[in-house]
Amino acid sequence: MKGTKQFRRWLTLLLWIVILAAIIAAPFVLPVFRLNLLGRYLSLAIVALGVDLIWGYTGLLSLGQGIFFALGGYCAAMYLQLNSASELPNGIPEFFGLYGVKNLPFFWEPFNSPLFTTIAIWLLPGVVAAMLGFLVFRNRIKGVYFSILTQAALLVFFNFFNGQQKLINGTNGLKTDVTQLFGQMVGSPSMQRCFFWLTALLVILAWLFSRWIVRDRFGHVLVGIRDDEPRLRFTGYNPTLFKTIIFAIAGGLAGISGALYTVQSGIVSPQFMTVPFSIEMVIWVAVGGRGTLLGAIIGAVFINYAKSLVSEALPASWMFIQGGLFILVVTALPEGVLGWLQSEGPRNLLSRLGIARPISTYPSLEIDGKKEINL
């Protein structure tokens, strides 16, 4: 017994070493383009973790994570734009000239400071999420209503950012590739390599953080909210507070993710706040396995990678595949791939194929939950 425990510990350690080695080695092995893609998909894994926290664990399906994602991206891009604007004639980013703006809009000012920016990247989306969440949860709006409202909020933000040329460069968005950071161009290979490592590091930190949350008592309350909110309320908990906090955390994670994604893709634009993108985030988690943190990471990286491969080969077919994934994952694989592997999935499949024998257990009786027994 003790032996296996020790063995497992060694195994975990070994796994970590392999992962770390892979991360460090990746920039030297992969071609620039694929490395860049991998870096971006890893940054998407962070927003997926947030989605998993609110949807997989708390049961809140947000279709508006794009807001927070884009906000984080905008924060980073505003700092980078200002950082390299000092050499320009007016001392303000170039695009303002297109619309005849002479003075920097007031809300740009604080983004001159790198410290403020680093904090704003996760705090601003977090605060916005907390306010939005509080307004919604306070009224006990939940389920699909919550989803629809977050989607409406997404559209509000999209239209606002899209229409405000003079404040934030409208549809064009803000570019970061040719801006300077620490005296180097953000788009340069060496900077991109650093961003890749930073992203990988933050993914691990975000994963550890999320794991700490869900293993803590806080996490049990979240699962309680998901499974039976009224009962939780009657036990004396205030679900509103917990929901608001977890929604804010997910917003903050989305902000970090957006900032990392922006510096690696070279642009942040209102396109990050389109309806399909935010729903896509849900499907990453759903495919990977909701309620499993690793599943969210794997799902985000894997699906995006598949998307880029498929759209290179057969551009028009990605939409069919994606649509099919949505249907498949909710009808056939509700636990996602990882959940399926962890449960009796493989064994069931094998037994259906006649390779392994089915094990007889008691049928699951979930009378309390949403699933009712089938009589």
Binding site: W55, G59, L61, L135, R138, N139, R140, I141, G143, V144, Y145, S147, I148, L149, Q151, A152, A153, L155, V156, N159, F160, N162, G163, E229, P230, V275, P276, I279, V282, I283, A286, A316, M319, F320, Q322, G323, G324, L325, F326, I327, V329, V330, T331, P334, K370, K371, E372
Partner: protein, 384 residues
């Protein structure tokens, strides 16, 4: 006076488009608790059906009746969307009752597939496929029941599907040649031309009332009346209401809940088709036609409250009037000497983009006071 009349008319006109589009959604959501994100794509199918109907009416034999094609299109669109909707219900949604979030994701998947289907597959093939589905779906009802039973039944069913596939292929071929003969249309965005009597506007009291808008208002009015009558006065309507109130009790009393589900979803989808006809009269018919309305529809449903048609009606009209009031900057013309800070704020929102921002924001604020919409369901809170 003119100003108020025009504003009212515009609001009602915008609202009635929203209403006819949201009606099916509200029914399906209210009665079944299902959020159907593919509703917009069912509208799109309705719009394409209108286009195909219009093409067919350009045939020499039908030319004299061309002016009436819109009425035929309403029926065709209803049937097409209803059948596709029923297929959707039978194949996907049925498995997901009781888990609305999963339904939402699955229907989003369906909507992606339908959209890309319309983009990638030439119109004639698509129409042929829909035709064969229609025939295949309806033919078992037309055959005598005896044929469908026993071991022969399978064969008969297979034969009927083969027959419908053949009809579909023939239809596709026919339509393909029709398209190349009559229209400039490919599977790109196509154009539905209103018959001549539906063009132009009526000038009354200094205000122009565009006729297509009036037609849409009439269509909406009839749809709302029809559905209200159906739900409250007909036998099946009563069964639907019964199942909504207490599914297991209705089941015990001998109501086939499965049939009720199919019927409800079919009607909701059919109404989406009708909405498709309406929007095709106003704008273009293309793969994105549904997507541009869907979020507005959801706002209507959320604002109106679940399971109450009156709420849906009021919500659409108030959203319509607000959109026009804010977007066209009418407040400034109604109250010309408003104080400057207020005036500049009004001016800031007086673009179509910003009006949308403000209307959605107002809805969210409104929900702070009435979380369950204008007309919440009475009784104990139901945990969905």
């Amino acid at each position: 006076m003119e100003l108020i009349l025009e504003c009212l008319f515009n609001g009602v006109a915008i609202g009635s488009v929203l209403l006819v589009a949201a009606l099916g959604l509200a029914i399906v959501f209210g009665l079944m608790g299902v959020i159907n994100l593919a509703h917009g794509e069912l509208m799109m199918l309705g719009a394409y059906s209108t286009y195909v109907t219009q093409l067919i009416f350009k045939l020499p034999a039908l030319k004299p009746f061309y002016n009436a094609y819109v009425i035929v299109a309403l029926v065709v669109a209803f049937i097409v969307s209803a059948v596709v909707g029923i297929l959707l219900e039978r194949s996907v949604i049925r498995r997901l009752y009781g888990s609305p979030l999963e339904t939402l994701l699955a229907t989003w998947g369906v909507s992606l597939i339908l959209q890309q289907f319309v983009r990638s597959v030439p119109l004639a093939y698509g129409a042929g496929l829909v035709l064969s589905l229609l025939v295949g779906f309806i033919s078992p009802f037309l055959l005598p029941q005896k044929l469908l039973e026993g071991s022969r039944g399978r064969l008969v069913r297979a034969a009927s599907w083969a027959f419908s596939a053949l009809v579909g292929v023939l239809g596709a071929g026919g339509l393909g040649s029709l398209v190349s003969r009559l229209g400039r249309a490919s599977a790109r965005n196509v154009d539905v031309t209103a018959p001549s009597w539906m063009r132009g506007g009526i000038d009354l009291w200094g205000v122009t009332f565009p006729i297509p808008r009036l037609v849409i208002i009439v269509i909406t009015f009839i749809a709302v009346l029809g559905i209200t009558w159906f739900l409250n006065r007909s036998v099946w309507g009563m069964r639907i209401r019964a199942v909504t109130q207490n599914r297991s009790m209705s089941d015990c009393l001998g109501i086939s809940t499965e049939r009720v589900d199919v019927l409800t979803f079919g009607i909701g989808s059919g109404l989406a088709g009708v909405a498709g006809v309406a929007v095709s009269l106003l704008g273009s018919v293309g793969p994105n036609v549904g997507a541009s309305y869907i979020v507005g529809c959801f706002m209507v449903v959320v604002l109106g409250g679940v399971g109450n048609l009156l709420g849906t009606v009021l919500a659409s009209f108030s959203i319509g009037i607000m959109t026009d009031l804010i977007g066209a900057g009418r407040l400034l013309s109604i109250w010309p000497d408003m104080p400057t800070p207020l005036a500049s704020a009004v001016d800031f929102f007086a673009t179509t983009s910003m009006a949308r921002v403000l209307v959605f924001a107002l809805i969210v604020v409104f929900l702070q006071f009435r979380p369950a919409g204008l007309f919440p369901q009475k009784g104990r809170m139901v945990e969905a």
